[in-house]
């Protein structure tokens, strides 16, 4: 039997949660993870198809060709026994292979939407809808577009009415915290609804 980590010896087992932060290129993923947690370096590998070979620095592995992809990786310690892990991933469809691994066992996801490039968030929204993974849309307030109406974004992304969409500033801890609170509340609401429907 594994022994318990020393500080948890007398308490409940360590609980870990995983939250994804997805969004298009430059939507603020790294900023968001960094605003609320200590960001650590973490990489994963991408097995390249022949189509993408030649674009990146490559390492040959047998007949497989891989390249390393950096992920945003942060951890938030909540109380003594609870750790929430944040993983930020590139939003391009090419990185789907990472989403499958990240979505497995995840509590939910944050889709960062940049109002200047809303269509960049379509793949993430489609993906989480398809996997029935609870998500919230965080509309990142870049300078000059703070006045954007969440309702417009909802319509543009064709969000289900139950999916929360809120404005945020990915640079601010309190703002990012509000987004995570909205996500956890959304997960709880979804469960309560599922329970009531049975």
């Amino acid at each position: 039997m594994a022994f318990a980590p020393s500080e948890a010896a007398a308490g409940p087992p360590l609980a870990v949660l995983k939250v994804l932060v997805a969004g298009g290129f430059g939507a603020g993923k790294t900023t968001m993870v960094g605003a609320i947690s200590e960001v650590r370096p973490l990489t994963t590998e991408e097995v390249l198809t022949s189509a993408s070979v030649g674009q990146d620095d490559l390492t040959g592995v047998g007949n497989k060709t891989t390249t390393t992809v950096a992920m945003d990786f942060g951890r938030i310690t909540i109380g003594r026994h609870l750790v929430m892990y944040l993983f930020g991933t590139p939003g391009q469809p090419r990185f789907r292979f990472m989403w499958d691994e990240l979505a497995y066992g995840a509590l939910g996801a944050v889709v960062l939407a940049d109002t200047r490039r809303l269509s960049d968030s379509f793949p993430a929204v489609d993906y989480f809808e398809g996997r029935n993974l609870p998500f919230v849309v965080a509309i990142n307030c870049f300078n000059g577009v703070e006045s954007h109406d969440p309702q417009d974004v909802r319509v543009a992304l064709d969000l289900d009415p139950s999916v929360p969409a809120l404005m945020c500033d990915a640079r601010r801890t309190d703002s990012v915290r509000n987004v995570l609170v909205a996500l956890v509340e959304h997960v709880m609401t979804g469960r309560a609804r599922a329970g009531a429907g049975q």
Binding site: A2, P41, T43, T44, G60, V61, F73, Y85, G105, V184
Partner: protein, 126 residues
Amino acid sequence: MSTGDRWLDHRAGPVVRPYALTAGRTSPSAGPVLDLITLVAASGGPPSARALEGLAPEHQQILRLCAEAITLADIASAIALPVGVARILVGDLMEAGLVEIYQRAPGPEQPSTDLLREVLDGLRAL
């Protein structure tokens, strides 16, 4: 079996780091799939000098990290190797009986509603 030569065999041919560490393997040989937040821990407490003997430096490093339950993501980050490589190396240690799963990633019914309330309170207090 001696654990010493299993880690790096010579059949794989010329491979470039980091896959040299895994003898060219790009997926774990067997066993349960380790999720990024699966917690693993050393099976018998802190590793003895004897357990470390004959292990590649990266395996030793992981075994030391596993003295307390730790996630695969934290291991990969701490040893500065890609997640896939860390997964294979942890798998080797599991196969050798030195490391075991402490707690799997939560299933769809988890975490419990009580735990989620705790998370909410914790987040609000940040």
